[in-house]
Structures are given as C-alpha cells and as structure tokens.
C-alpha cells in the first residue's frame, strides 16, 4: 500500500495573492483607503508565510564516520539525482521545496510482527541520532563526502520484528504528482522502488537518515527520511520513503527494471565491474581542487570493504553486480 500524503505545504494555493491583484496592490490600497475598506485590502495583500527555517537535529559523533574533507553543503544540495523532480542535476534543488514533508508517515508492511503506519516524529525518536560522515559514490562516476544524520536502519528493523520469511526489504518512495514534475516522464517506473537483502539492511553502516549537516534533510536530498547505503551506488539509497516492506523474494527495483544489463540488484561499488557505458575504475570527487583535479581511484565497496565484504563471501560479484 502506498501512503499518499495530502499536500501540507505551509502556503495553500488559496492563500497566495493572485498576481493580478498583487500587481495592482497600491491601486487597491489607495482605492480601499478612500472607500474606508482598508481591512479588506489588508486581507487581499496579506504576505505569503515564509517556509520555516531549517530545523536542527541534535546528533552525536559516530566511529563509522570518515575524516575526509566534506563536500560543501552548497554542492551536496545543488547537484542531485532525484528524477521525480526532473533529470537535470539542478532540477531537484529547483523543485523539491514544493514537496510536502510534514506530516509524514512510513508504512511498515509485509512479514513483520509489528506492521503499521509510523509517524515521522515517532521514527525520529526511535533511537539516538548520530552524525555519520560517509563517502557517497554515484554510479555516474562522481562522489561526495556527506555528513548525514540518522541511526542504523537495523534499529527500526529490530523494533518491527521481522518474521523468518522476511528475506529482503523493499523501499518505496514518494510519488506525488502535485509536487513532482518529473513523474510526468516515463524515465522510470514510479513510484521509485529500491531494496536490500536482510543482512545488508541489518548492517550497522546502513543508515535511516533524517538530516544533513546537522539540519533536517532538504527536499532534494530526500526529506524527510531516506536510507543511505554507503558501499553501494547512490541510487540504491532511496529518498523520501513512504513504505518499507519486508518480503520473501528479491524486490524488482526501479533501475533494474529500466535497464537490467546496466543496473543490478546489488549495485555494490566495484571498480572492477564497468558500467556498460563507462568505466567505474575512477571517480570525480565533487568540489575537490576545482576544475583541474584528477579523478581518484574508486575503492572496492566504496572503501567499506573491511566492514561489508563478508556479506558477499562466495558470490561472483561480476555476475551479481
């Protein structure tokens, strides 16, 4: 089931002064004053309420953080892939503010003892928040270092008590036609679906993420809640989650459906398995030394091999890419 959240944007369309009236505001005021109708004019000219300032999230440090230089907030929030808002890198930052992110619920479904609809505030208070500075490697060949805020996905998974037949977790993300212009194109099958094997989801590195640089997530980065799986290509980390399903069979994920020979279910960062259209051996670290910086070598499992390689012992990662 997909939870459709009603538009709860702080400014209702009905509150916005029609541009024709706004353009004539002085005229209206003058005329209204003359007619002793100032209260009416004041109502007409009421300014739109501003969006609330970013909300801080208190988070402790984490031993899982890298100490590499962080990619600037500006770059992290302006260079995004979030195709629901358009395929351009700047489309998400231009459109995502339209996305209603409060109230918000995640529906927990499938093979769990405690299914149900969980409110975002409940989820925020479920476990103590940590700042996790992770490398993020996009399948397109660029990378960032991002200070996320959240807690291990396993904290949530444990609390909803998966049954024995829950072998995989499927993440469904928001598909709200009113705020997401990209949904009009058929680039992908909407809503966007991603998934993890249960042991991957239980790995402490897999993060249920609510914030970025100490603030709540901006829309373009997947507000109000997303997952972050740092050893996999970025598209595995679904944004703006609305449902988490515990299933027995490997989920059919959006990119795999779109181009099965290019995007596998696992999509672990792997410099030895090239993408059909480009090499994955190197990556461009965004913001690093500007225009003339050389690309850096991509690391197996994005540098998290020590922690996660054992999850894939005995698997042929060339075939199960």
């Amino acid at each position: 089931m997909l939870i459709r959240t009603r538009s709860q944007h702080p400014v209702q369309p009905s509150e916005i002064t029609p541009s024709a009236a706004f353009g004539r505001r002085r005229e209206i005021l003058r005329a209204a004053t003359a007619a002793g109708l100032l209260p009416v004019a004041a109502a007409l000219a009421r300014p739109a309420r501003a969006n609330p300032a970013p909300q801080r999230l208190e988070a402790g440090p984490s031993p899982l953080s890298t100490d590499e230089p962080r990619t600037s907030y500006e770059d992290v929030t302006s260079y995004n892939n979030f195709y629901e808002f358009g395929t351009g890198k700047d489309d998400p930052s231009r459109h995502a503010h339209q996305m209603p992110t409060r109230p918000w619920t995640i529906s927990i479904e499938g093979a769990v003892a405690k299914p149900g609809v969980y409110d975002i505030d409940t989820l925020l208070g479920l476990a103590s928040l940590e700042e996790r500075v992770y490398r993020m490697r996009c399948v397109e060949g660029w990378s960032m270092v991002i200070p996320w805020v959240g807690y291990s996905l396993s904290e949530l998974v444990r609390r909803v008590e998966p049954r024995g037949d829950a072998k995989y977790i499927e993440f469904a993300t928001l598909a709200d036609e009113a705020s997401m212009p990209g949904l009009r194109t058929r680039v992908l099958l909407w809503p966007y679906v991603e998934g993890l094997r249960m042991d991957e989801a239980m790995h402490p590195l897999a993060l249920l993420c609510f914030g970025l640089y100490g603030d709540v997530l901006p829309g373009q980065n997947g507000a109000p809640v997303r997952i972050v799986v740092p050893w996999k290509y970025g598209f595995k980390s679904g944004k703006s989650l609305v449902a988490i399903r515990f299933v027995e069979k490997q989920p059919m994920t959006s990119w795999h459906i779109a181009a099965p020979h290019e995007y596998g279910f696992y999509s672990n960062v792997n410099p030895d398995v090239p993408h059909p259209r480009w090499s994955q051996a190197t990556e461009r670290r965004i913001g690093e030394d500007g225009f003339l910086s050389r690309k850096r070598k991509t690391l197996m499992f994005n540098g998290y091999a020590e922690q996660v390689a054992s999850l894939y012992a005995g698997m042929d990662l060339r075939r199960q890419f």
Binding site: W142, R277, S279, K295
Partner: protein, 229 residues
C-alpha cells in the same frame, strides 16, 4: 536548375569576396557563434559552472556541436524554402564552428576527464558504443574541416561535394552518441529533439531528390550531384 548552392560553391572556390551586407552578417554570425564558449569562460570565472564543472563544460560543448551541425544542415532546406542564396556562404563557418566545439568537447574528455590515459581512452572507445559513435563523428569531421578551404574545393572539384556528404553520416553518429549517452538512464527527451530535427533536415533532402529524380528529361545527372548538398 537550382543555381544557388552550386554557384555559391563556385564563388567560394574562386575566392570572390562577399558583398557588404553578407560581410556584416558573416561577422555577426562569427561573433555570436563564439557566445557559447564565452559563456563558459564567464561562468568559469564567476564560479558558475556548478558542482561538477568538467561535466558541465563537456556537455555544453557537446550540445553546441549538435546545434551547429543542425544549423549547417538547415542551410540547404532554408534555401529551398526561399531564403536568399547568400546564406549558403554561412555554411562553412557553421561547419567549422561545429568542428571547433566538437574538438573542444573531445579535448575535455581526453584531458580533464581521462588525463591522457591513452590505454583507458582506447579501451573506452573500443568497448563503449556511445564513446565510439562520438569519436567516429569527430573523426569524420576532420577531412571536412581540412577541405573547407578554397584551395581544396578547387582541387577536388565535384569530388568535394561527394566527400562532404560524409556530413550525412557524421551528424547521425553525433546524435547517436548523445542518444546512447542518455539511453541507459532512459533520459532520451533531449536527444530525441535533436534526432527529430536531424531526421527532418535529412528527410527534406530525400523528398527533394525523389521529386527531382523522376523522368530523366526533368533533371540531368549533373544537376542531381550539384543540388543535393
């Protein structure tokens, strides 16, 4: 008999100076065509190239290559629709700008993307159809650019036009390069626009040829060669 393109070709080959108005138009087109490069320089100086400047610049140069190729291909159809014959004299400049932007686009790839790692570059071209298509398109532009001068036109005579029909191969290769680049992400909206424009520009030629090649008394073989540019 359509004397336009053939005569213009002869005029260029003979080195006739363009008339006053045409000279001004050519100067304007020359300066305006530098705009896309100037824009990148200005954006670069003002830190306006976004989070991934190398990608931004490379893609922008690629897009403008396609634009100039389309403009060059549009000259003959515009002529047939009644535009003044003199616009044919803009075509060489548009073609050379296409080659200029294509070369910068390729240089960005060779230098700032691959850092002249020739092994990786060769592997890229051999293994990846999308890179190969772009590379072939650029390669095919070289002989056209080299023979765009009056001397080569005179030397090659009627073979010059035959050679320059490579443009009908290289432009689709360029569009394919763009298409395949976007296809894996299913994002073919923009390449589809270029594909449509190029298809229309090529179709115009097919239609015209089909009309003109009918009974042999209507069009002799010589005019067919001349008018198909």
């Amino acid at each position: 008999m359509q004397p336009g393109p053939a005569r213009a070709h002869r005029d260029v080959a003979r080195g006739r100076r363009p008339a006053g108005v045409l000279g001004v138009v050519r100067a304007i087109v020359f300066v305006v065509s530098l705009g896309p490069l100037l824009r990148l320089v200005v954006l670069g100086a003002g830190d306006g190239l976004g989070a991934n400047p190398v990608e931004f610049v490379t893609r922008s140069l690629g897009t403008w290559t396609l634009v100039f190729l389309c403009l060059g291909l549009a000259i003959s159809p515009l002529r047939w629709l009644g535009a003044p014959a003199a616009i044919v004299r803009l075509r060489r400049m548009l073609g050379l700008y296409a080659f200029f932007y294509a070369s910068l686009h390729f240089l960005m790839y060779l230098w700032l993307d691959q850092w002249f790692d020739w092994r990786a570059i060769v592997a890229d071209i051999v293994e990846r159809p999308f890179i190969a298509a772009g590379f072939v398109a650029w390669l095919l532009m070289i002989p056209l650019a080299l023979t765009s001068n009056r001397f080569a036109m005179r030397r090659l005579g009627s073979r010059w036009q035959l050679l320059h029909r490579l443009v009908y191969l290289l432009v689709p290769a360029g569009v394919l390069h763009f298409w395949w680049h976007k296809a894996g992400k299913n994002d073919i909206g923009e390449p589809a626009i270029y594909a449509l424009i190029v298809a229309l520009l090529l179709l115009a030629r097919v239609v015209r040829r089909a009309r003109r090649v009918g009974p042999p008394d209507q069009a002799g073989p010589a005019s067919r060669v001349r008018s198909s540019a």
